[in-house]
């Protein structure tokens, strides 16, 4: 199992505030109601005890969900979920009660940011050695990018799970073959857990088949779910959408873990104030949980809260806003209040390129949202420009910075046994001629648990960080890939229709 970061969650909300939000959410679900689209979700909710009102004239039915049904449903859903991986050492254990924070990538940006290093010589200083600065260019992502990024992610020691950070937009990628290719490109290049949403419900069985072949059989896939799903069941404000709901229900019925994700935007599709935002997103996700448990009692579902704030000059998402971390932290608490594992977001910057703004915005939410004790913190690697751009060099930087945060958040090692050792060590040094504690640092230094310094530190009075990061990106990209064994690749290719031949033959 991957270690993750076991945290004692920081309680942003006190118990009274949690209960107030719970009450508000219950009133939203029971009195305001949620709009539901689609026959099957409606029937499931209705037969579970929700009240369906009115008639559908293209605008969906208003459904009122009583508190008893909500509480009964969250009780049915497991509070502990295991996510598997090609390499079982990368298994993740999501527990609402004793959370470990896992950091992951995500989520399907359209643009890939290339970094080039150029040398600039100051005007009039033709003989000086010049300065190296990064320059950036953006282009649309393709399936080969996804393979390379999964390969890179496999080597980032602080990346615990993988959600594709780049959309595949090749000419030969169609609506029908997109799902199988995005899952295959990821699973063939990374030995960690792979999560994704699917575009086409018709591809669901093919993806499950792929998972079963890779895990080594149907039962093996149940025991070691190498992949899981994300489904944005709700569209804010307060609507359950049919196609996403059906994709979730399919996963529920197969017993495959699924994130019930909602991503309202404070200031446009949700209230901007924390209480309004959290009360509403909580209601939306709980409605999804009710639906999942109506579809399959005990289905493993993850409370997927991705609340964001609008920027007021263009109504885009603003991830660097402190409210983003506040919303996310509060949602983590709500999810654990219901005993549900949590999936939230952190580590996105609104900046277009790596730099000071990106580092500050990313690091703060990497740290704060993790302190809440989320189980899965996605969006954490390489995302820039409000999740519109992925930059591999930024992912390398994020990996280093998350390493620092994981170290900060690790549990204190203080116990009775250690006390005696500490006192005897201090006594020994106080009796020595120079009273220097460096001797005892030697083993600690080699424990593998000591921070050894910023990996991209420059030795000169200029910032060479991006130069070193670029070198590291190239070094990692050139390492041999950890592809699936040849027979498994061929079996997937032969049994799962739609996989591009070039992905298997190259």
């Amino acid at each position: 199992m991957r270690k993750g970061v076991p945290v004692k969650p920081y309680p942003r909300l006190n118990q009274q505030q949690i209960e107030l939000i719970h009450r508000a959410s219950m009133e939203i679900l029971n009195d305001t109601g949620i709009v539901v689209h689609g026959k099957e979700p409606l029937e499931l909710l209705s037969s579970a005890g929700a009240e369906v009102n009115g008639s559908d004239q293209g605008g969906g039915y208003k459904v009122k969900i009583p508190e008893t049904l909500v509480l009964d449903s969250v009780k049915k859903a497991p509070s502990e979920i295991k996510l598997g991986a090609r390499n079982p050492e990368n298994t993740l254990l999501l527990s609402a009660e004793n959370p470990r924070v896992y950091y992951g990538s995500g989520s399907e940006t359209n643009f890939f940011l290339e970094t080039a290093l150029k040398e600039f010589v100051p005007r009039g200083e033709d003989n000086s050695p010049g300065y190296i600065f990064p320059t950036y260019s953006s282009r649309r992502g393709c399936v080969e990018d996804l393979c390379r990024v999964a390969h890179l992610a496999n080597q980032l020691e602080n990346l615990d799970f993988f959600i594709r950070p780049i959309n595949i937009q090749d000419e030969d990628i169609t609506e029908e073959n997109k799902d199988v290719n995005k899952f295959f490109a990821a699973l063939d290049n990374i030995e960690k857990h792979v999560m994704a949403g699917i575009t086409d419900l018709n591809q669901f069985n093919n993806i499950v088949k792929m998972g079963q072949i890779i895990a080594g059989g149907k039962q093996e896939f149940k025991n070691n779910p190498v992949l899981s799903f994300i489904s944005c069941v709700t569209k804010s404000p307060l609507q359950i959408v049919e196609d996403a709901a059906l994709r979730m229900i399919a996963a529920n019925r197969h017993g495959i873990p699924v994130v019930i994700s909602s991503s309202p935007q404070g200031g446009s599709t949700a209230p901007i104030e924390e209480m309004g935002m959290v009360s509403m997103i909580n209601a939306e996700i709980l409605a999804g949980v009710v639906l999942s448990q109506a579809a399959e009692k005990g289905a493993p579902v993850i409370y997927g809260s991705v609340p964001v704030r609008a920027r007021m000059d263009n109504l885009h998402d603003m991830y660097g806003a402190p409210e983003f971390s506040q919303y996310n932290l509060a949602c983590v608490q709500m999810s654990h209040y219901y005993g549900l594992p949590n999936y939230s977001a952190g580590g996105v910057s609104d900046a277009r390129v790596p730099g000071i703004q990106a580092t500050v915005e990313k690091s703060l939410s990497h740290l704060f949202v993790a302190q809440g004790g989320t189980n899965l913190l996605h969006y954490a690697f390489g995302l820039l420009l409000e999740t519109q751009t992925f930059c591999p060099e930024q992912a390398i930087l994020d990996n280093a910075h998350i390493g620092i945060i994981k170290k900060i958040l690790e549990e204190p090692e203080i116990d009775k046994e250690l006390k005696e050792k500490v006192i005897s060590g201090i006594d020994k040094v106080m009796d020595s001629p120079y009273r220097i504690f460096s001797r005892s640092a030697r083993k600690y230094m080699r424990s593998g648990n000591m921070y050894m310094g910023y990996p991209f530190e420059g030795g000169e009075e200029k910032d060479n960080t991006m130069l070193r990061v670029k070198e590291e990106t190239e070094r990692l990209m050139e390492q041999p890939r950890s592809c699936l064994p040849e027979n498994i690749r061929n079996e997937v290719y032969n049994q799962v229709p739609g996989i591009l031949p070039r992905l298997v033959k190259e």
Binding site: K428, Y434, R435, I436, S438, R439, A441, R442, K443, M445, R446
Partner: protein
């Protein structure tokens, strides 16, 4: 133990940075085993030539430590531990080597200057210089110029090391050098300075012989001076 075996054990323990049996070193299995002090005593009891102990065990061990540092395998705490072990060994060997009229690499009087009580850097330099085979006379902290000069003259030191952490006390380095000149002793010693606020430019300005950024630079400077 044969001579070869015991010299090898001393060398190994220098690399491990184990002064004596109480030191852990790096490898767990060495806990409680004799360290450099016990092994040197044993070697002397077995009448092994002190010069052999110094050359074949201690210096070789320290050379290997230097290589490990250059390779990035060892860090400062390892260097200090090894230097401490060497210092402990040379203390044991000193009376025998003096009998044999063996000369130390050099003799340094070292101090943190007047009104300055900071000594971490100075202590590290002391350990490393001793490990490098110098005779180190450490006068401690807040040492007036007269005392430094008196000790250097009485002990016939060829080097003076001055340390300061504060910009308000680094001026005492200059007055120490001035007093050396006034007493006509300036040509007898080389003066090395170091400490956070000091720079090579400052060293030059006050008439010091060298500015040493750290213990390694101090060793290098002294060794270069010797070969001159």
């Amino acid at each position: 133990m044969t001579q070869e075996h015991i010299l090898n054990e001393i060398r190994k323990n220098v690399i491990q940075g184990r002064r004596n049996a109480e030191d852990e070193g790096l490898d767990d299995e060495l806990a409680g085993e004799p360290g450099v002090e016990e092994l040197v005593d044993q070697a002397l009891e077995q009448n092994i030539d002190p010069q052999e102990i110094l050359n074949q065990a201690i210096s070789k061990g320290m050379e290997e430590v230097g290589v490990k540092y250059e390779n990035g395998e060892y860090y400062i705490p390892d260097m200090l531990a090894a230097a401490e072990a060497v210092g402990a060994a040379t203390d044991r060997l000193a009376p025998y080597l003096e009998q044999d009229n063996q000369q130390k690499k050099g003799k340094i009087v070292i101090a943190t200057v007047e009104k300055d009580y900071h000594d971490i850097g100075k202590n590290i330099v002391c350990i490393m210089l001793k490990g490098a085979g110098l005779e180190v006379i450490d006068l401690g902290v807040d040492v007036p110029a007269d005392k430094i000069i008196e000790e250097a003259a009485n002990r016939e030191a060829n080097l003076i090391g001055l340390s300061a952490l504060l910009d308000t006390t680094m001026g005492y380095m200059e007055s120490t050098i001035k007093k050396l000149e006034d007493k006509g002793l300036r040509d007898n010693v080389k003066v090395l300075i170091g400490g956070a606020p000091t720079t090579p430019e400052f060293a030059e300005k006050i008439g010091a012989d060298a500015h040493c950024r750290d213990a390694f630079e101090a060793i290098r400077t002294i060794e270069e001076e010797e070969t001159r």
